[in-house]
């Protein structure tokens, strides 16, 4: 290593490094940029990564467990017999960073703030859809229900009804007891409450600083507001172990809160910096200027990080991300003059709109996706296999379902069977799209293209990157014939995957015009199983759906990169929880 005289002199002369950061300071360099520090507005990993340490929810994740939960701001709870009322008993003696005490008033305010503002690009719908029954803010819902030409009187009436629902959704039975009243039974409500949107905000402090008053008086002013313009966007008073000192766009500085109810953490100062250049992050890690950094992929970890001294890579084959990636087939491609289906006919220059409705076509494509290459080349052998569109560590996942690996013989066999042999005879031309910039999806698309085209010169596939805007437009219009896509969990319940991917009205399955009435029935039924003793049955249903999906092949699940955490080797206490945005809480780690 170059740690010789020259480097020492250089260090002294040029001060190129502050050798190691102090023991009580944690420096984390991440690649993404924070969007907002308002708990209601934030919906991206980088922002939530800060919020989960500054604010707290009623219950939180117990270190690396997905199923066990830690009582945090609540110490216990009950669910009513009909599953429509959840009552939580709050912890006493908890203080906010401002010094104000936490009571039921704050819990109620925080949740209702979600329901009032419901920003379109936030996660507030997670609560709205079950507490008021609405997934969008009051004005949008009003327009949707009443039409564009509704009178002001009608709109006001609608708004009043909406407000009543907000009021009814959360009640304070006493200073330390809060009840949530659902609009309909929801199997995942408890999991939803762990999402940072439900974090408890210091209502007195927020109101003092110009946020919503908490009453009907000014609620209409806050409907659908972009909260990035508010005080909570870059200021915070929560109950979490760390208080926000400042956020200047690129850097978040946080300090341990000495009034934290859970006792003072080992790390006293935190700096989270957004550094887009990976090489800069790596340099900082190598020199000890950073304690943890984001690294793009296993290839970089193996090629670079493992050569560094003083660095540790945390990983375990059992870890898997709270996400699923699949290749979608469109059963009935829509869109006039659709460039992705060529001529629109099975004549060698295009595909008919229902091309993928033939199971043989889907199977043939599935056997053309080289899952081993993804696992071994792309992820250098560190991946998670997916048998269905659900994270492998989540309940309801069936690991015994087979995975179709690359098999060009079988692919050829199915292509020859497809559409009565016409596919093989006439050939086809179609376009696989992916959103530009995503190398993983580009690779999947190109793999499929390479293998399919190798079977028959009449098979022509174009791989086209779409600008984000074009991609969204096409996806909404259901005009993409086949495309790779991923989905990350919003809350820790398997229904958050099963419904979108397999229910005909699920947000993802909708775009592919996939409908299997039997699967729909099963999912709807599963949603009624809200009692704890019914969960086992619910998870069996999901496994069954996974097996049905193997036979029906509405989408091809493929492996995901195995998660890893890169830190300096003096960092201790690191664990991995796929639902904690940045994998672990700051309060649980320390440095030697």
């Amino acid at each position: 290593m170059k740690k010789r005289l020259i480097t020492l002199v250089a260090l002294a002369l040029f001060g190129a490094a502050f050798a190691a950061t102090p023991k009580d300071t944690y420096v984390y360099l991440q690649s993404a940029v924070i969007d907002s520090l308002d708990p209601v507005q934030a919906y991206d990993g980088a922002s939530i990564g800060i919020l989960e340490n500054v604010y707290e929810t009623l219950y939180s994740f117990k270190k690396d467990s997905l199923g066990e939960y830690e009582p945090t701001l609540a110490t216990s709870y009950e669910v009513s017999a009909d599953g429509m009322t959840y009552t939580f008993h709050l912890r006493k003696g908890v203080k906010f960073h401002s010094g104000n005490p936490m009571t039921c008033k704050d819990v109620k305010y925080s949740m209702q703030r979600n329901l009032v503002t419901m920003p379109g690009d936030s996660g507030a719908w997670i609560f709205g859809s079950v507490l008021t029954g609405y997934g969008d803010d009051a004005m949008t819902e009003a327009k949707r229900a009443l039409g564009d030409n509704a009178s002001q009187a009608d709109i006001d009436k609608f708004l009043d009804e909406y407000w009543k629902k907000i009021e009814a959704a959360v009640t304070c039975d006493d200073m330390y007891t809060v009840s949530f009243h659902l609009a309909k039974p929801d199997v995942a409500f408890f999991a939803r409450l762990l999402f940072t949107g439900g974090a408890v905000v210091d209502s007195k402090w927020a109101i003092e600083h110009g946020e919503w008053s908490g009453t009907e008086k000014d609620w209409k002013d806050w409907i659908g507001v972009d909260l990035r313009t508010g005080y909570l966007h870059n200021h915070a008073s929560g109950t979490g172990p760390y208080k926000l000192v400042k956020w200047d766009g690129n850097n978040v500085v946080a300090e341990a809160f000495d009034g934290y109810w859970g006792g003072e953490p080992a790390i006293k100062k935190v700096l989270v910096q957004s550094v887009e250049e990976e090489s800069t992050r790596l340099e900082a890690l190598a020199r000890g200027d950073a304690d943890r950094i984001d690294v793009n992929d296993w290839a970089t970890v193996n090629a670079k990080v493992k050569q560094m001294s003083g660095v540790k890579v945390w990983s375990d084959p059992s870890w898997s991300p709270a996400a699923a990636h699949v290749v979608f087939f469109n059963f009935n491609v829509e869109g006039e003059n659709n460039p992705y289906i060529g001529s629109g006919k099975l004549d060698g220059n295009g595909i008919p709109r229902d091309f993928f409705s033939d199971i043989n076509v889907r199977k043939a494509f599935a056997y053309c996706l080289d899952q081993d290459a993804i696992y071994n080349d792309l992820f250098e052998g560190h991946g998670s296999w997916y048998t269905m569109a659900l994270p492998p560590t989540w309940p309801g996942y069936d690991p015994t379902i087979p995975i179709r690996k690359l098999d060009l013989d079988k692919a050829e066999e199915y292509f020859k069977k497809a559409w009565g042999g016409q596919v093989w005879e006439k050939g086809f031309k179609l376009t696989i799209t992916y959103n530009a910039g995503n190398t993983e999806r580009q690779t999947v698309a190109e793999m499929i293209k390479a293998n399919v085209e190798s079977l028959n010169p009449k098979f022509k596939i174009d791989v086209v990157p779409l600008q984000w805007s074009d991609y969204l437009k096409a996806a909404r219009a259901k005009s993409l014939p086949i495309w790779p896509l991923g989905w990350g969990a919003d809350y820790a319940d398997s229904d958050n995957f099963i419904h979108p991917f397999y229910h005909s009205r699920g947000s993802l399955a909708k775009r592919q015009n996939f409908k299997d009435p039997e699967i729909d029935k099963l999912i709807d039924y599963a949603r009624t199983l809200v009692k704890p003793e019914q969960q086992a049955e619910r998870y069996e249903i999901y496994k069954k759906i996974g097996r049905m999906a193997y036979d029906e092949l509405p989408n091809i699940p493929y492996p995901l990169q195995s998660p890893f955490i890169v830190t300096r080797d003096n960092v201790q206490g690191v664990y991995y929880n796929s639902m904690i945005s940045r994998d672990f809480y700051w309060k649980d780690i320390s440095k030697k």
Binding site: S279, R287, T300, K304, M308, A373, L378, A436, T439, M447
Partner: protein
């Protein structure tokens, strides 16, 4: 020897002119020409130089089998050889992916310049990237000249408020650093080689429009023009037959010689993520693949040198060649320096 030959002075050929002799004697000019000839050779014969490593889609579009392709592309007597050199299929411009691994692999016998992140064959990218660089340079200059001729020509022809307006427009566009404006245009138009070229052209034309207009005014002021005008030759005829042809020459020459600057802008845009589609043979884009592998903290510093070295040297040499040539031509035309 007839009488007429004695009386008429022999027309000097361009290669005998003083200017050319000055040019020829300038060593830097010679180097510039040599560099560009080298790149031209590489660009023209790109299919032959990469015959053994063409991508599957490229081979399929050529309509031949893999071994047949290799034979044909080594045989200059075959007509198909020349057809491929001149108009290869579009799919050949995509760099073949040897593997899908994000990790680069060092140069080896089969891959003499190494493999970039994502499995892209660097040698292939450099060779075909030569064509892309020429395209970009020539096409952008072409578009620039069209726009500049129209704007400058209209301004010079009509004069008055139209001239004023157009020259103010020139000022406005010129007032923004070209990279910044090109970035804005490129991001609006989206990715894609042609769109990016239009974006760059939209930014580069002002200076030439102004130059053309100035030349037109100069020519207009010449005696023979006013003489013709007095005799009754129509304005438009005068303009298109005499003024414009004389004014346009210097602009064309100088625009062509700024290809270097255009390639720099294009490669910078590609590096930023605007530019041709991912995987297209473009030097700037190849450097953006290399971004994560430029430094190797904690390990051997220049371990992945080949990922950024070859494309950056290619760009630097290419631009250098044009700049040397451009400088030398300017020097030769204008003897003061």
């Amino acid at each position: 020897m007839s009488n007429s030959e004695l009386l008429e002075p022999r027309r000097e050929r361009w290669y005998e002119s003083k200017r050319f002799k000055r040019f020829r004697r300038n060593p830097l000019a010679v180097i510039g020409v040599v560099i560009l000839l080298f790149f031209s050779f590489v660009g023209l014969f790109a299919p032959a130089l990469t015959a053994d490593r063409l991508g599957r889609a490229c081979i399929r579009d050529l309509g031949m089998g893999r071994s047949e392709v290799r034979q044909v592309l080594r045989d200059p007597l075959d007509l198909r050889f020349w057809k491929t050199m001149l108009v290869p299929p579009k799919s050949c411009y995509n760099i073949p992916r040897v593997s899908y691994s994000p990790r680069p692999k060092p140069p080896s016998k089969k891959y003499p310049m190494g493999i970039a992140s994502g499995g892209y064959d660097i040698y292939y990218g450099i060779v075909w990237g030569t064509r892309t660089s020429f395209f970009i340079g020539i096409l952008v200059v072409g578009i620039v000249m069209v726009i500049a001729t129209v704007v400058g020509g209209v301004a010079g022809l009509f004069g008055g408020w139209l001239d004023n307006l157009l020259m103010r427009l020139v000022d406005v566009v010129y007032s923004i650093p070209s990279l910044v404006l090109a970035m804005v245009f490129a991001s609006i138009f989206g990715r894609g080689l042609i769109k990016t070229m239009i974006a760059i052209a939209l930014v580069a034309w002002p200076i030439y429009a102004r130059m053309l207009r100035g030349n037109i005014l100069q020519v207009k002021a010449q005696d023979y023009i006013s003489a013709a005008h007095a005799v009754g030759v129509g304005n438009l005829r005068l303009f298109f037959k005499h003024i414009l042809p004389n004014a346009i020459g210097p602009m064309v020459i100088l625009a062509s010689l700024d290809i270097g600057a255009i390639v720099i802008t294009a490669s910078t845009l590609a590096f930023l993520g605007l530019g041709a589609d991912v995987g297209y043979a473009d030097w700037g884009q190849m450097i953006s693949f290399a971004r994560s592998w430029i430094s190797n903290p904690g390990g051997e510093p220049l371990k992945y040198w080949y990922v950024w070295f070859w494309p950056s040297v290619a760009i630097a040499l290419f631009v250098l060649g044009w700049n040397l040539l451009g400088d030398a031509v300017r020097d030769a035309l204008d003897p003061r320096g």
